[in-house]
Amino acid sequence: MSTNQTPKRHMGLKASARISNTIIYILLIFISIIWLAPFICIVLQSFRVESTWQVGYVIPQQWGLDNYVRLFHSDFTKWYLNTFIIAVAVAVIQTIIVLCMSYTLSRFRFKMRKALMQFMLILGMFPGMLTMIILYRVLKDLGMTQANAVPGLILVYVASSGMGYYVSKGFFDTIPKSLDEAARVDGATRAQVLTKIILPLAKPIVIYTILTAFMAPWGDFVFARYISFGTSAGMNVAVGMYNWLNKDMITSWYTTFCAGGVVVALPVTILFMCLQRYYVEGVTGGAVKG
């Protein structure tokens, strides 16, 4: 940083840099502790066996796996399976839909394109929750609520996913159009351009879309609660575990909630960390291109 300075200034800069770096290290360590503390606490508390309610200390007095044993003898296994099925189905279908939408809007120039994009922008300004009231009654008539909430939820998540095309459209916009044109000159149809040329190049955004689509159902609360409507067999983990923390249940289920949190977070976190690179690419690209 300071190669072309006079020696005296050089020393001063170096010393001040050392001080500022030390301050930054202290701040970063502090930040890391704050960000990790809840997760360390939740892991530690999941191994606490002396009591099942909230306590004012972190490190358990007696360690054991009781909470995990109890967890797998509760409805949790059912909720976990529900959420997993939903997440896989949504990841597959939503990715296809989002890619169709974003690729088309990025590459084709058809008559209603601008109007369509503006229309979807306006549509997105309505709170999505408003649609739940009607969707619940319609799905109920179709027999896809309560105990059979899983197909209903998949349908609800997937159906409107075309509106979330922004990030991947931004990615497709960066692939040079000359590639398409060259292939078209060589006699490829539009469909062949997509499958043979664009898709192999779009691997990062495909993985990003799959990853975000897979992760969303694990945290969804509103729609899942609406559609399962109090029936345990149709709940996902978020709705089911939320009930463990209400006033009546928290004293006997708090530590089980912690254990459940660990079981839910672990696979998702590992998957996320493995594919982190693609996520970062998607998020930064999406924000810059708006």
Partner: protein
Amino acid sequence: MKKYSDLEYLRLSKGQKFTYGLASFFASIPVFFKNLFLGIGRFFKNLFVGIGKEFADLGSTFAKGDWKTKISYVIMGFGNMARGQWLRGLLFLAFEAVFIMYMVVAGGYWLSMLPSLGKVGPGEVYNEVLDTYVYQYNDNSFKILLYGVLTIFFIIAFIYTWRMNVKQNKIAEEILATGKPLKSGKDDLKSLVDDQFHKTLLALPLTGILIFTVLPIVFMILVAFTNYDGTHDGYYSNLFTWVGLQNFNTLLNWSSGNNVYAATFGEILTWTLIWAFFATFTNYFLGMFVAMMINKKGIKLKKVWRTILVMTIAIPQFISLLYVSKMFSKNGIVNGLFLSLGWIKEAIPFWDSPTLARIMVIVINIWIGIPYLMLIVTGILMNIPADLYESSRIDGANAWQQFTKITLPYMLFITGPYLLTQFTGNMNNFNVIYLLTGGAPTNAAASSAAGTAGYTDLLITWLFKITTGAEAQYYLASVVGIMVFVVVAVISLIVYNVLPSIKNEEDFQ
């Protein structure tokens, strides 16, 4: 207001520049609304002119067309079939047949019931065979409204298809007049993976959006003009019916003295805007700060710091938020820790005092939001040309000046649209509020009928509470939803028009 030229502007002092900027901003607001209304006027003018042209074209096509074209006005697809385009013709004909059948069998009934939303409610009817009164369900307001809207959609689709059918005849005649052959069914199918590939790709996503977003939104907007709620569910309890603007009056009329709904709405709207402002900008600046610390030259273990923050994104929000909310409860870990350290004598009621609870949700939202901002800012910081910093350093700028003169303007320019979506996203940030506080502490002044609003409730969580509350006032929820839309739309419109650059999307390609 006096307008300065660039040269005159540069001569102004700092204070004058600021007042000038402020004045021109406020002066631009009326201009903006003028342009908005002019734009709306132009839209309707174009619409009516367009419709007029369509009718003129329909007439001239009929007058000039041959007998095949003329029959197509009544029997859709006849012209196509007569000219050998069997596939298109059969599709048109099938659509017409389905439409007519639907209208006769069901559509007519739904349309005729739409103005009243049902005439006979459920009630007891004398049954002669059983010699007793039986409870019987009759009209279904919910279905009438839903299928009524669907039928209108269907009619619009039919008119559009019919118009397309006429246009095709005209085009076919023109092509035949030049002596070229028409496209065969095989060509049509082939074009679906080639020239018309976008139609194939968009078919599925747009159908989903139409059925699961557009239709429900139209339905819910209409519900705002009815009295649909838990006791008027339209089938099992009572029918519901149109009530005009009454619900808007309930929610928005402050003048009628102690209107508890209007007061609650005003309070929640104010808090929603305050929350969105702080949630957006605290995250933005602190996130930028953290990113700059990690990216500073000479800081080691960059990957470790980044990974620690990114990991918190991976963990589903309902776990982290619910857990953090319990950490700060009266008998939670934080109070326990502070008590055992002797810092406090009594547990701090983090979630019981309105002000403290509001501060807490903003602070915890920082904890949630910084990792995302850190990622985004890191990406942008790497794109700022390094020689800008280099030359400013030679000119003697210190780190603070570099930040305010280079980094911040660059960031604001690039992330302007992102900040807007963050702001509107935070207005509708259901998860953070609902999972942390559930809207608590309860606002005693608010109506207990409308889902017991609390001090940290946003409009969106209030909406949820209304629909799941004891009285389930769906009509009130949909008015609140429409208001959310209006607020978001107005803010977006103004910001987009004030932002320095509306980026041209073609620039990226």
